[in-house]
Symmetry: C2
Subunit: 196 residues, 2 copies
Amino acid sequence: MTAPSTDRGRSSRGRIVDAACELFYDRGVAATGLSEVTAASQTGKGQLYHYFRDKPDLVLAVVHAQVDRTLQLQQGILEQMTDAQDLRVWAEDAVRAHNAGRPARCPLGALVTEVADHDDALRQALDGGFARWRSALAVGIARLQRQGTARGDCDPHDLAEILLCAYEGGVLMSEVRGTTRPLQLALDAALLAVLV
Amino acid sequence: MTAPSTDRGRSSRGRIVDAACELFYDRGVAATGLSEVTAASQTGKGQLYHYFRDKPDLVLAVVHAQVDRTLQLQQGILEQMTDAQDLRVWAEDAVRAHNAGRPARCPLGALVTEVADHDDALRQALDGGFARWRSALAVGIARLQRQGTARGDCDPHDLAEILLCAYEGGVLMSEVRGTTRPLQLALDAALLAVLV
DNA sequence: GCATATCTGGACCGATCGGTACAGACGTCG
DNA sequence: CGACGTCTGTACCGATCGGTCCAGATATGC
């Protein structure tokens, strides 16, 4: 609701969002009580409702935070993507990251099914986040197209969308099966369709 | 908990599961109260706790019901799949179905992110459902392989997995964007990787 | 050092949650 | 028709939910 204007306030708000990111991610939004958020962030209801109008408003802040985190993690490898091998490394990194975390999911994808349908503001926020991610990917893919290692007859944004769909679907199926195999297969197939 | 032994009992249990399927699907499991389920199914708490141990037990029944529904819808087209064009029709049908329903999601996929992580029995039930679906697809794909229209160097189950991942990821991204475009792109790309 | 605004923590509220208890309706035997 | 197991409906419970309120701590400007 009210933006913090002091360092202490910014710190409190930040701790709340961080704790909410973590709790929402591995327990789910609906299953996480606001008291758990305040307990985990060493704050109270007073602070929470000082900085956020209500729970959906907090969820919105979490969405933006997760988008920023994801983009920040991706932009490094995406910006300096110059050949097809770099894209394969990107896919391998995705599989490796999924292997490491537990339970390994996409912070954005996990939020979609939980909030995207009954709250349009949250859906739009997630849509915007994916759009930024897709654009970052498309920039690199366009580079590959210019050097002839990616399919030239498609909009790079469409090729990026294919990769993101394969990633999200692969992560979802890998979560159900308990193996990274589906993610591996899905990304390999998507690369097959995107490259050359 | 106790299986019904009369027609009236089976009818009540059936109405409860049907109502729960619908409510869980378009409001979410956590967001649906048991009183809403009893109200929508014209029953009471007495019946609900006569046939189900607790809420997770009801969710388990819903998972099985949704698996059966999905398989039943799919088996028709899957069983008589004889050439590559039939697989393309399968993909087109998926896009068309997604276009019709609102909000169009996969009944199984929607349940994954909501219940798969914190309840292993539910995760296994969903895993089993996807396995049956994948096998049904694989049977048709193996047929295509024998006639040389599908990639022969892969296990048909892996090719089926690729299609399911593309479908689930495409549905998820389509839900966020509000268009069937991502699903269309993802399935086309998967077909490209699976056929010939 | 006083006034003012920001920030903090927790007690508290009504509503709703999942779950229980129980009294009675129903159907099917002898 | 009476007895018995199945099935039904609802009143009710403690716990927890999102959200309010407010008194006091903390900082900043004059």
